[in-house]
């Protein structure tokens, strides 16, 4: 989007090839909510300043240093005018309301979220005369010696050869391509849920890699969280997340615990639970709470499964009942007295239990009991194409491709080697999209 609008404003003629129909347009961006950007002070949309150094430190922390520092720093600096630019395109933001998310200072929130943002973007495209073809999927790219020649596009049941002087790849990751996920994860990928667009099959990425683009990131690196196991296979988005883990005991199908549920506050831990659950039998786990914890966490899209006894709950969930009762009895026996505080790590812990629960450990003893099945939900993948500061795609000989640029999830792995901080994806997409659009338009003109 940002590439198309920027290129069009520079006078280029732009064709946007969108694999989705109008309802699902905009890829995973329709599920986003905010953008993390550098800003010196509070504005109408954020509660305080967020300088580039702090942004960089946060990024280093969440990725564990697994980033291209130069590119990351460049992106962070360039993000400073991202919100102003988006406002100029007609994107609407809301005042900082979401105190509970803890992002009101660092991130600007789109009024109505990502789909509303996409509506505004598409409107801006129409106004500027950008041609958009919906339900058109790029099957393969024709690339010779680092030079884009044409794309083979399936549209209306036929394959079309589309030539252009330059191309910007903004086709997302491959999280909706279960077969590809299996290359990194094996057969268990069949049990993963995909939180975003079913259109993100990674065909463009695959074709680029086949044509000699230099890959970045590992095939099994992805942002994956624990979401409600009853969620749709695709497109469940934000609403399917389960936030009760820190107040719960999480068991697998065999009724056994496998990780410290209370390691840290949930916003700092939710992204590891996808992988944890993926390692359990049948890639499913069950968060168990009792009446005491009702109302302490964000409401869930599916009601909890409820029972008056743990054995009944286990039966309803499909968990080994005897084992689960034993696990919870052992856990209850290990819980130490303490001052429970749901809002911060409270030191309420277990003793002599393996694995320990190090915060918010309270006995599960007050019926009714509630259970949420949780599975791994993939948000996005990190394997992509390497780019330089001009958003140019780097080929296997380490030289930039002549006329190919990339923006968004397809190149996010340059900056996010692992981990995630909310709103960074939008920043990467917007910053590199604008650069890619500018460079591609300039190149097309010459």
């Amino acid at each position: 989007m940002s590439a198309a609008l920027t290129a069009r404003r520079m006078g280029a003629s732009v064709l946007m090839i969108e694999s989705a129909n109008k309802d699902l347009r905009g890829g995973n961006s329709r599920h986003v909510r905010n953008i993390r950007y550098t800003h010196k002070a509070a504005t109408d949309y954020v509660t305080g300043g967020y300088e580039a150094d702090e942004y960089m430190a946060d990024l280093m922390r969440v990725t564990d240093g697994n980033t291209n520092e130069e590119l990351a720093r460049f992106m962070i600096d360039a993000s400073e005018d991202a919100v102003d630019w988006m406002l100029e395109q007609g994107i609407k933001f809301q005042p900082p309301l979401s105190g509970t998310l803890g992002l009101a200072r660092t991130n600007a929130f789109f009024l109505g979220g990502g789909k509303a943002m996409m509506n505004s973007y598409f409107k801006a495209c129409e106004k500027l005369g950008i041609d958009i073809v919906f339900e058109a999927e790029v099957e393969t790219m024709e690339v010779a010696d680092g030079r884009f020649e044409a794309a083979m596009v399936r549209h209306g049941g036929e394959l079309h050869r589309v030539e252009a002087r330059t191309v910007v790849l903004a086709s997302g990751g491959f999280e909706a391509n279960i077969e590809w996920l299996k290359e990194g994860w094996g057969e268990i990928a069949d049990n993963f849920l995909v939180r975003g667009s079913p259109m993100n099959t990674g065909k463009v990425l695959r074709s680029m890699l086949d044509n000699g683009a230099k890959p970045i990131g590992a095939v099994d690196q992805c942002h994956a969280v624990a979401i409600d196991g009853r969620a749709p296979k695709f497109d469940g988005g934000i609403a399917t997340r389960v936030d009760c883990v820190i107040f719960s005991v999480v068991v697998n199908k065999l009724g056994k615990r496998f990780y410290d549920e209370g390691e840290d506050i949930w916003p700092k831990r939710y992204a590891i639970w996808g992988r944890l659950v993926a390692k359990q039998p049948d890639q499913v786990a069950y968060a168990i709470i009792d009446q005491k914890s009702v109302g302490l966490f964000m409401p869930t899209v599916y009601s909890a499964i409820k029972a008056d006894t743990l054995a009944d709950l286990a039966d309803q969930l499909g968990v080994d009942a005897a084992e689960m009762e034993k696990t919870i009895a052992e856990y209850n026996a290990a819980v130490q007295p303490g001052d429970f505080n749901p809002t911060e790590p409270d030191g309420c812990t277990t003793v002599g239990l393996e694995p320990a629960k190090t915060n918010w450990a309270r006995k599960i003893d007050t019926p009714p009991y509630y259970g949420y099945p949780v599975k791994m939900g993939i948000t996005f993948t990190y394997l992509g194409v390497e780019v330089n500061k001009s958003a140019q795609v780097i080929m296997n000989d380490d030289k930039p491709a002549t006329n190919i640029w990339a923006a968004g999830e397809i190149m996010a792995g340059n900056i996010l080697g692992q981990g995630y901080a909310g709103g960074t994806g939008m920043a990467i997409g917007t910053v590199f999209g604008r650069i890619a659009g500018e460079e591609a338009a300039r190149h097309a003109r010459n």
């Binding site: 309802d23 329709r30 599920h31 909510r33 609407k92 809301q94 005042p95 309301l97 979401s98 929130f109 009024l111 109505g112 979220g113 990502g114 789909k115 509303a116 509506n119 409107k123 749709p232 497109d235 988005g237 934000i238 609403a239 399917t240 997340r241 009702v294 109302g295 964000m298 409401p299 869930t300 899209v301 009601s303």
Partner: protein
């Protein structure tokens, strides 16, 4: 209480919305929703009546159809509101008027106007009705003042009684405390919200019309309608004061306070509803309750007819058409008042009650 299936659908949708909350910036509904974990019948009835139908949340919704969650808040709430108006109508025997509302409103208008016309002709005779009357008390040569007063004030008073009873039942069912209805600060806040039509501004950019585009058109058209209506009411109040306190009889001078207020108000209740009709015609049907468009149309047309006949009466009051126009105008106003509790006017009552409730809820506790 509205039908079970409408309530259940609203609860289903609210549970999904409450775990998403992306729309918190649009209006009062979502902040009110986040204060709840579970949604009972009263909760969704309250939230539905808090909704101004701006439709921002529909076009922003990642779970709108064709998504399998099929979330459509504006449509769900519009249906629930229509059922609120029906099920809180008093006396209950008239609930049926809320189904096929346009037909009933038209019938009542024609019958009342015809009865008034026949009655006037029988009592006064054709000559007096079609004669030119000028000077103080000219209108009352055709229909005596006290007849006009009784004819208009009786249904108006009944409408107010019906609305008070409906509002109290509504207030009880949404789980609010009786005393809160009379809290000056909350009432004042709600009046401000209504005066500015704050929530027809959606998230500050207007309603979504005719599709995902933001537009202030609907808000402005509603402002013309609402303030036009208020000005007409003010004009009548001032005229009443003139008549009883000072003994000044209508018709009043073109630049007198009642005529100026009434003229401005009359223009408002003509152009505002015309704007709303145009918007309704061009709007996307998906986020709306298309089953009961008739109720909206009937109310808008009644306001337009009231305004047009009132303005015509003003312009032609010194001609032989004054008598017939007075009968028609009065017949329409009579029908408007009679149908107030059994039509779209009810939205003002339950919306106001919901806004008062919201004013309480958002106070820091």
């Amino acid at each position: 209480m509205p039908a079970t299936e409408t309530l259940e659908e609203a609860k289903r949708v609210m549970q999904i919305c409450n775990s998403c909350r992306y729309c918190e910036g649009y209006c009062a509904v979502f902040p009110a929703m986040t204060k709840r974990l579970l949604f009972g019948d009263g909760d969704v009835t309250y939230l539905a009546n808090l909704c101004h139908g701006c439709q921002g949340c529909f076009y922003a919704c990642q779970y709108a159809p064709p998504h399998e969650f099929a979330v459509n808040v504006p449509k769900t709430f519009a249906e629930l509101r229509a059922e609120t108006y029906r099920d809180y109508a008093w006396p209950g025997v008239f609930k049926g008027l809320l189904e096929g509302n346009a037909k009933w409103v038209a019938l009542i208008t024609v019958v009342l106007t015809a009865l008034l016309g026949i009655g006037t002709l029988m009592v006064q005779g054709v000559d007096k009705v079609t004669a030119v009357h000028t000077g103080a008390g000219a209108f009352y040569e055709v229909i005596p003042h006290n007849v006009i007063v009784y004819l208009a004030s009786a249904p108006f008073a009944l409408a107010i009684i019906a609305f008070i009873i409906g509002a109290l039942k509504f207030w009880r069912d949404i789980g609010a405390k009786p005393a809160e209805l009379f809290s000056p600060s909350a009432v004042w806040q709600a009046l401000k919200d209504v005066g500015q039509m704050k929530y027809m501004a959606g998230g500050g950019h207007g309603c979504n019309y005719p599709n995902d585009n933001y537009s202030m058109g609907r808000r402005y058209a509603h402002q013309f309608t609402m303030w036009g209506f208020m000005l007409c009411f003010a004009a009548t109040s001032v005229a009443t004061l003139y008549h009883y306190a000072f003994g000044w009889e209508a018709p009043y001078d073109y630049l007198s306070i009642p005529v100026v207020l009434g003229t401005l108000g009359g223009i408002g209740i003509v152009i505002g509803p015309i704007g709303l009709l145009v918007i309704k015609k061009n709007a996307d049907p998906e986020p709306r309750d298309t089953k009961r468009t008739g109720m909206d149309l009937a109310f808008l047309w009644m306001l337009i007819l009231t305004g047009v006949t009132g303005l015509a009466l003003l312009v032609l009051r010194e001609t032989s058409l004054m008598g017939p126009l007075l009968i028609i105008h009065l017949g329409i106003v009579l029908a408007l008042f009679v149908t107030f509790p059994y039509g779209k006017m009810a939205h003002a009552v339950y919306r106001m009650a919901s806004l008062i409730r919201f004013a309480h809820e958002r106070k820091p506790s």
